[in-house]
């Protein structure tokens, strides 16, 4: 490929910087609210804080319940447990199912794939009422286990589709070669297929983690004990009907978003390959 001219490069940089500014502006605005001492909003375009205080962060991070227990720590812990377990459970289920759909022939395969897509089209909020009754029958209401199962399964259709697409692009010859070398089917799956699928696994894991980390309607409905609330539900308490505490909301929002951003940065190289490799071959 030809090396682009200096003028063109300057144009590209200008365009990208402009877009980055547009992208960052709302984020800076939230940072400003989190750091500003007043609790309200003010009509200025300037996204940088005039005065800096860490009070909002301190109050959010050290928040306690009426019994004086440090709830924020517990809420972080339950968020981590829920998201971690959702990722593990979701990925395990998705990987095995996607592998079977990609490699084996069995009755109901085509129909199953279609059915997975179809479930994505029914509005999730309306499934809330039946899900509530089912979890109650399974005695999993107000438990993190129930929440994990719901998150893991609702993320499944997307995860399975993504992974199946990726598995389809992996050459079967490698697996056949491994079988020739005397590997058992399980060994082939664990030692050959999974390492090859690493970019797609990373993206799927990220997706499952995000589903669980960010969701709040189900968490708010299914969990009763405030020490088991996940962070988005904790955030909700700063956005009351009559009182929005913008400073604390912004601080908490940053705390909630930070881990997902960190994961994105860590996985962003895989993101490009993992998302599209499956798509390219359909």
């Amino acid at each position: 490929m030809k090396k682009p001219s200096g003028l063109k490069m300057a144009f590209i940089h200008a365009g990208l910087s402009l877009m980055c500014m547009v992208t960052l502006y709302p984020v800076l605005w939230v940072v400003k609210m989190a750091l500003s001492p007043s609790d309200g909003l003010s009509l200025t375009a300037n996204p940088f804080p005039d005065a800096v205080t860490f009070d909002h962060f301190r109050e959010v991070l050290l928040s306690t319940d009426v019994h004086g227990r440090w709830v924020f720590g517990r809420q972080v812990l339950s968020s981590i447990i829920v998201s971690g377990a959702t990722t593990v459970v979701g990925l395990t289920l998705a990987v095995t199912a996607a592998y079977a759909l990609s490699r084996f022939r069995f009755p109901g395969k085509e129909g199953g794939m279609q059915a997975l897509l179809i479930t994505q089209m029914f509005p999730a909020t309306l499934m809330l009422v039946p899900i509530y009754s089912i979890l109650q029958k399974l005695r999993l209401l107000d438990s993190l286990t129930g929440l994990v199962l719901v998150y893991a399964t609702t993320a499944l259709p997307f995860c399975i589709w993504m992974l199946k697409g990726y598995f389809d692009t992996l050459p079967r010859e490698l697996e056949e070669a491994a079988v020739m070398d005397g590997a058992t089917p399980l060994q082939v799956f664990l030692r050959v297929v999974l390492p090859l699928a690493r970019p797609a696994l990373a993206v799927t894991a990220l997706f499952s983690f995000m589903t669980a980390w960010n969701e709040f309607v189900l968490a708010a409905t299914l969990i009763n004990d405030p020490t088991r609330f996940t962070l988005p539900v904790a955030l909700q308490r700063y956005v009351g009907e009559y009182k929005v505490e913008w400073g604390k909301f912004a601080a908490c929002a940053l705390v909630v978003s930070a881990p997902v951003m960190a994961l994105f940065f860590a996985l962003q190289k895989h993101l490009v390959g993992g998302l599209t490799a499956g798509g390219v071959k359909g």
Binding site: F104, I134, G279
Partner: protein
């Protein structure tokens, strides 16, 4: 290592589940701050006296009622809960609350609070405190509070200076609860003799005209939220505000204030009459410890507990004896509110009351935003009211339906069985069924239980009418009502067709913007020699990483008319600030801007991946053949992008179609529900309009059908793609 982590996490999840002790009394409430502390103190007193432990649970107000109606019938609810009386009829018809008994005596409480808790002559719940509105006055700015509206009108211009953001009066003018005092003050009525809501009255028009005038003359701010009222009053930029006792805890210590009764309307001689709400402790019908639960509820409403709630929680007790206490006598806030409550209109606890909020809110906002004239508003509210509160459709006979389902099941089985016999045996055709089954089974079980069953229940629900806990089989009546657009013309926001068009427009505009911005950025970013490429890419995917309800709330704040960053930018550029949510075009644009910010990174990443997979040799060959840049883009880039972008576009369009959070949180459907899309409309039917689950399910089924049609269309697109 990975497996170990997984085990630890799973074990931790199980432990969290298993760590449940023996059951003390469960008490639910939605208090925060001082009120919550007082309640804790009061329950501690109870525990000290009786030895019975009480577990408190504070719930976010928005989720509270839904949670109660879900949890109690399932036996997962509290023993006692604290709620306002106006939902009582609803709770009663769903059989959630138990009548008072034992030591309950009417004469312990103000009689109107007990009456508020009566249904068919039975008292449900122990009255705890009164909630109503009064005037908070900044005494530095207003030494003599106005007692009539004439005095108020004379005073306001001297206290207001919109250029400096100062206002004589501020209150949440878009909320009917806050408008009610004006309605009753202008001798308006909300219910006729039969107890039916009626909006088209002269009082309604006069009250709306009065408030509209205050706003148009900039004597009070527009689009007021609770947070804004608090900020203005604490900064000394609002001289007077209208709020309830809960506001006392929000006032900064530097502000000197008084609380007085709302002024009297000079034209009518009637005082501005706020609603009187009674907060009560209700015992749930399903509690297993009924006698202790009643004991606790009564304990909280009287004696020592009401002293604590008054002094620590700043609540206005319903307990007559409390006013004999010196601490309460000395408390001017409590006594002022008690006096102000004398004028208050007890809010009826009828089902009808719960139905007036949405039509009134829509109408109130339409008037304040200039979309409707005060004199036409009543008729508008009337129409909305009739549309939102459908009469129950006639019951249908389920037998033909069951028959139909049976016939379909038999027919389906027969069709499967009579398929041409395969030339091979089952085992030959599907050699690895057993292995496939072991791989698929775990996911299949999970999906079956938590996705397909709820999905089928949702489908089935669309054939029922749900009202106050009762399901009636009505066949296709819900669908007929929706598709015939019963109650409103198809050009009105509440019609299915109007919402469908908005939804399609919403999805199309968003997907076009997402794809073009994403693709444009990917083209800029694709050159591997570009400096700072990694930095740009990282910065540009940030919006994807922010949870979308945070994005929504953040942008909602940015679009605020008086204090948002967007209008800040406009003002900095010398333009007029825009009131974003008063017109369809700007409200829709605000939604689109938010969702575009949120959605372009996904398309960018997909496009980038696809661009990188195009071999550079193709371009080199084209270069040699003398093809122009544009020809290269048209004939190499676009065709090779298509297979990767098409699935992403399809997925993106389905996501956008059902993007509930952005619509619900940014525009909230304003103005007048015009920017609602099908999903948010379905949500409102299910959770905000008397829980019409069946009707909402019918909406969902229609959404599903539309998307199914879309997927059939795109599948054809994909197939021609493969053939090409």
């Amino acid at each position: 290592m990975r497996r170990l982590c997984a085990l630890v996490l799973l074990a931790a999840a199980w432990c969290a589940h298993a760590a449940e002790g023996p059951a003390p009394l469960k008490l639910w409430h939605a208090y925060r701050g001082g009120e919550e502390k007082a309640l804790l103190e009061a329950t501690n007193l109870y525990t000290k006296e009786t030895g019975v432990r009480v577990d408190l649970l504070a719930l976010p107000y928005d989720a509270y009622a839904a949670k109660l109606t879900n949890a109690i019938p399932h036996g997962a609810g509290p023993d006692v809960f604290i709620f306002n009386h106006e939902r009582l009829r609803n709770f009663h018809s769903q059989n959630l609350v138990a009548p008072t008994r034992g030591a309950f005596r009417r004469e312990d409480y103000f009689s109107n609070t007990v009456e508020a808790l009566e249904v068919d002559g039975q008292v449900y719940g122990y009255p705890m405190s009164l909630k109503s509105l009064a005037l908070y006055v900044n005494t530095k700015l207003v030494p003599r509070p106005p007692t009539t509206t004439a005095e108020l009108l004379a005073l306001l211009p001297t206290l207001s200076n919109p250029a400096e953001g100062r206002f004589g009066l501020a209150y949440e003018s878009g909320d009917f609860y806050f408008h009610a005092p004006f309605l009753f003050g202008f001798d308006g009525k909300l219910f006729d003799e039969a107890g039916k809501a009626s909006f088209d009255t002269p009082g309604m028009a006069r009250s709306l005209a009065f408030v509209k005038k205050l706003q148009d003359e900039k004597l009070m701010p527009q689009e007021v939220s609770g947070a804004l009222v608090k900020t203005l009053f604490n900064d000394g930029r609002a001289a007077m505000i209208i709020s309830g006792p809960w506001f006392a805890g929000e006032i900064a210590p530097s502000v000197a204030y008084r609380v007085v009764a709302l002024p009297t309307v000079s034209e009518t001689g009637t005082p501005l009459r706020p609603f009187l709400g009674v907060e009560a402790a209700f015992v749930t019908a399903r509690t297993e410890q009924a006698s202790t639960a009643h004991e606790l509820a009564r304990f909280l409403s009287l004696g020592e507990a009401s002293r604590v709630r008054t002094t620590l929680g700043r609540q206005i007790p319903a307990d007559v004896q409390a006013y004999q206490l010196q601490a309460v006598k000395d408390d001017t806030l409590i006594s002022s509110f008690r006096e102000a409550a004398v004028n208050a209109t007890p809010m009826p606890n009828t089902l009808e009351m719960a139905r007036v909020w949405e039509p009134m809110k829509l109408t109130l906002r339409a008037v304040l935003q200039g979309g409707a004239q005060p004199e036409d508003a009543g008729a508008l509210a009337d129409r909305r009211y009739r549309a939102l509160h459908r009469e129950r459709p006639p019951e249908a006979n389920p037998v033909p339906w069951l028959g139909l389902v049976g016939v379909m099941a038999v027919g389906g089985t027969a069709w499967v069985l009579r398929r041409p016999a395969p030339g091979m045996t089952f085992r030959q055709r599907y050699p690895d069924v057993a292995r496939a089954a072991t791989y698929v089974a775990p996911a299949a079980v999970g999906l079956l239980v938590l996705v397909f069953i709820p999905f089928s229940v949702g489908l089935g629900l669309s054939l029922f009418h749900h009202e106050a806990g009762q399901y009636t089989f009505v066949g296709l009546a819900n669908f007929v009502d929706i598709l015939a657009s019963r109650g409103y013309s198809i050009t009105e926001p509440l019609s299915f067709y109007f919402t469908l068009v908005v939804t399609l427009l919403w999805a199309a505009v968003n997907v076009v913007l997402h794809v073009s911005i994403g693709l444009g950025l990917a083209l800029l970013l694709k050159d591997p020699l570009l400096k700072l490429r990694g930095v740009y890419r990282v910065l540009l995917i940030i919006p994807w990483a922010v949870p979308n309800y945070i994005t929504a709330l953040m942008w909602k704040g940015m679009f605020h008319q008086q204090f948002g960053a967007i209008n800040g930018l406009l003002v900095a550029l010398g333009l007029e600030p825009v009131s974003w949510f008063t017109r369809f075009s700007t409200a829709f644009a605000a939604n689109v801007a938010t969702n575009t910010w949120l959605g372009f990174p996904f398309m960018m990443v997909v496009a980038l991946g696809a661009l990188q997979s195009i071999p550079p040799e193709l371009y080199e060959a084209a270069e040699v053949d003398g093809a122009s840049r544009w020809t290269q883009f048209r004939h190499i880039t676009l065709p090779l992008l298509k297979p990767a972008m098409l699935p992403a576009v399809i997925l993106g369009s389905v996501w956008t179609f059902n993007m509930f959070n952005i619509i619900y949180l940014v525009s909230g459907g304003e103005p007048g529900g015009a920017t609602d899309i099908l999903v948010s409309e379905a949500f409102r039917w299910a959770f905000q309009r008397n829980e019409q689950y069946g009707f909402a399910a019918a909406y969902s089924v229609l959404i599903f059908v539309v998307l199914l049609g879309w997927s059939v269309f795109t599948k054809r697109l994909m197939r021609t793609e493969e053939a090409a």
